[in-house]
Symmetry: C2
């Protein structure tokens, strides 16, 4: 069975147990979580989320520069006032630089992707600090927004708070 068929079967079970009706569009807990696409992170379990609680924005690395469009919509149109930035141990983004992925793309696809910054980073905790700082100083993120940085440990399931320096 293909993963697509497996997903359809799993969704059938989920939909049959659905009792919520249609919840409101704005997040009930007024928060947007920004985290990595990594398969080992299940935000609903990591943060204890019910359907309707929180915006969850995910990209490779959980990088803030790649999330501004979504965060502005979350805040300006849907009223969130808190951002949680949660990056994680053993992240793939710690394992390469732009020149490496540009070379892989050239080899595998015959394409030139040198115009794309893939936003990898060499130091996890410093990157959380940098992304929190990037958001605090961004002209489209109000100063009133609460922003918290974390490292999620994929070996233990634990969120470790990253203090700003």
């Amino acid at each position: 069975m293909s993963v697509n068929s497996e997903f359809q079967a799993a969704n059938q079970v989920y939909a049959e147990s659905w009792t919520k009706g249609q919840l409101p569009l704005p997040p009930a807990r007024n928060v947007a979580i920004l985290t990595c696409m990594d398969a080992r992170i299940v935000p609903a379990r990591v943060f204890g989320l019910k359907e309707g609680d929180a915006h969850v924005i995910r990209n490779a690395g959980g990088r803030a520069p790649d999330a501004i469009r979504s965060l502005v919509i979350s805040q300006q149109l849907l009223g969130t006032d808190t951002i949680i930035v949660a990056q994680h141990t053993d992240c793939g983004m710690l394992t390469f630089e732009n020149k490496d992925i540009h070379a892989v793309i050239h080899k595998n696809l015959g394409a030139d992707a040198t115009h794309i910054d893939f936003l990898s980073f060499p130091n996890l905790e410093q990157n959380v600090r940098d992304d929190v700082s990037f958001l605090r100083n961004h002209p489209l993120i109000p100063k009133s927004i609460n922003i918290y940085g974390y490292v999620f440990d994929v070996a233990t399931g634990r969120l470790n708070a990253i203090n700003e320096e």
Copy 2:
């Protein structure tokens, strides 16, 4: 209690029940799910995911043009061969145009965001088709990648497949 403190308390419970150790970095089911940041979508429940199964990329609308960086990393560095595009009913992205959010930003923040395309869309099913087509024709997405489009119904929990035209 702030939402940040509530998340820390919820994570304490999750970490105490963690028995998995550190799972491998590449997704076990070789799939990347692209969906919206909407609070009512809990991908682990919608698709039946365990920790380690699938990359999950989320942004405002679940838009493909905003996910290329992450999808290329997912495919070229971590071996995924399938993309699920799941956009949803009652999406906030159906309710505004660029000129509207540009005006909100100018009013609320005194900032000029007219250089940002916020990627809203007027027709949900057509937008799923357009985003699937965008990926099928993108020079950085191999032709061998399986791509499936869905609309998730936030009133019923059901995924409805969108056939290409």
